[in-house]
């Protein structure tokens, strides 16, 4: 039996499809290395990025980089540990503390408020941090230096 699809059915199907597309968009995440400084940036290797976030001096085109930690999202922190520094949170903390205790170099400043992180990026020359690309795109002062991870979570 050939039954025509009613207008209501079409509308329901369209609604379901749009909900599905929207859900997929929410899961797609892009983690970026960002700055608000005028840096002549040279792409960093994954190991150099790892060093940077472990508090080891890293320069890009002779510009020393200062890392600021973005701590305003559990998911971002989880991706950072798994995909950027490749270690557990405990191990990461121990590495930073151990280095500070030995060298006297203070640990990177940590920000749990997005606004304060953006302010610090704007006011600290050569500073870089991690941010979801969609958040970075909302502020014209923030430039994406390189994509560190892209995927669904």
């Amino acid at each position: 039996m050939n039954r025509p699809i009613s207008t209501i059915s079409w509308l329901l199907m369209l609604l379901l499809m749009s909900v599905q597309v929207s859900a997929q968009d929410d899961k797609q995440q892009t983690l970026a290395l960002v700055t608000a400084s005028d840096i002549e940036f040279e792409r960093l290797t994954p190991n150099a990025v790892r060093k940077l976030f472990l508090g080891i001096p890293v320069s890009s085109n002779d510009q020393p980089l200062t890392v600021l930690l973005n701590n305003n999202s559990d998911l971002l922190n989880e991706i950072f540990l798994q995909k950027v520094v490749y270690m557990s949170e405990r191990h990461y903390e121990r590495m930073l503390v151990s280095q500070t205790f030995r060298t006297g170099r203070p640990r990177p400043a940590k920000f749990s408020d997005h606004g304060k992180l953006v302010e610090a990026l704007k006011s600290t020359p050569g500073s870089v941090s991690l941010m979801w690309q969609k958040d970075a795109d909302k502020d014209e002062a923030i430039h994406v230096l390189q994509i560190l991870w892209q995927g669904r979570h």
């Binding site: 080891i56 320069s59 405990r90 903390e93 590495m95 500070t100 006297g104 170099r105 640990r107």
Partner: protein, 358 residues
């Protein structure tokens, strides 16, 4: 609890006050509290059984200038263990002035006084601090030069230190320690004791700077004045090797010291040599549990004139224990050790709680 604010502590508090200068670029503060309970069989002089302490560490950086302080507060004392002012002429190349830890081996400049950072409760005998009966100077007052050369993923660290040596003089304290003990120069009372020269050089190779794995060697020469004893002075020349190797679940930590010493007593001089070392293995079951064991040994100790003076040194021993990190920044450790000292064997059981804030 007896706490007197001496000049060293005032200096540390001055350092802390830099935290309130808004122009400062960055600063950091670490607090390591510890409660330790020990029970030693065969040691009638042991007391107290339970001790509480806090290690405070502060550092402040303004441009290339860096200030660093570490104060250890125990029930008996408040002491500025490190108090340094440094200038970083290029990243990871610094010159420091002040009181710092002697860069010998691995333990002394990796864990400092932060018990939380080391797996075990106790330090190896040859890495013991002066006031606990250590053989080698662990605190110097002078100049420290630290440089790091990066090569690919790895790095070479070069460290040179020139500073005042400790004085060796008798002590009897509440911990039951008696005999000759090294006393480093006190910043608050620099005129106390006679302090000569200590020179140390250290080299370390790190194959991957994102890990703590390293191997290295060091050499040190120190002239030490002695008071309250028939001996007048001792000269120690020491060379050593160290390794800290982190694998998947296993960490190897080892040091070996070779020492030649000459003890002067009036017109007579007696010379000797000894070798002492330790090997510690830490096995990480998971992020919360670590099993550890350490063996320590010394060769030629009976004939050596310096070891004959240092009656608090345990020539050999075995240590085993378990560490439980029950939260992200707190740990409980249980440790059992057997050590030989002055012809007797002591078995010590220790339990400690240690943490790191913030």
């Amino acid at each position: 609890m007896h706490i007197l604010l001496n000049a060293q502590t005032w200096l540390f508090l001055t350092l802390c006050s830099f935290f309130y200068i808004p122009a400062l670029a960055s600063e950091d503060l670490l607090i390591f509290p510890e409660i330790r309970a020990l029970d030693t069989n065969g040691d009638s002089s042991k007391e107290p059984d339970t001790t509480a302490s806090v290690d405070l560490f502060a550092t402040a950086q303004y441009g290339k200038l860096r200030l660093l302080g570490e104060v250890f507060i125990s029930e008996n004392d408040v002491a500025a263990e490190r108090l340094q002012i440094g200038y970083e002429f290029v990243p990871d190349n610094s010159i420091w002035l002040g009181r710092f830890h002697n860069p010998i081996g691995y333990w002394n400049i990796q864990y400092h006084h932060g018990n939380y950072l080391q797996t075990s409760i106790s330090r190896p005998e040859i890495a013991k601090l002066e006031h606990n009966g250590g053989l080698f100077p662990s605190h110097l007052f002078g100049v420290l030069l630290e440089t790091t050369q990066y090569t690919g993923n790895g790095a070479q660290d070069y460290t040179f230190a020139a500073g005042t040596s400790p004085e060796l003089r008798p002590v009897f304290n509440k911990q039951g320690l008696s005999g000759l003990v090294l006393h480093p120069l006190e910043i608050a009372n620099p005129g106390k004791g006679r302090h000569k020269l200590n020179l140390t050089a250290r080299f370390a190779y790190r194959p991957d700077t994102t890990e703590n794995t390293q191997i290295g060697l060091f050499a040190t020469h120190v002239e030490i004045a002695i008071s309250g004893s028939s001996a007048d002075a001792v000269a120690l020349s020491t060379a050593g090797l160290f390794a800290h190797w982190e694998m998947q679940n296993l960490t190897i930590n080892s040091s070996l010291f070779f020492t030649r010493d000459t003890v002067e007593s009036g017109a007579s001089r007696s010379s000797g040599s000894f070798s002492s070392g330790y090997l510690q293995l830490d096995y990480l079951f998971n992020n919360h549990w670590i099993l550890f064991a350490r063996a320590e040994d010394t060769v030629s100790e009976n004939a050596d004139p310096y070891l004959n003076l240092m009656q608090n040194f345990s020539a050999r021993g075995q240590v085993a224990g378990l560490r439980w990190d029950f939260t992200r920044r707190q740990a409980l450790k249980l440790e059992v050790s057997q050590k030989d000292r002055a012809g007797k064997t002591f078995i010590t059981t220790g339990l400690n709680w240690t943490a790191m804030f913030p």
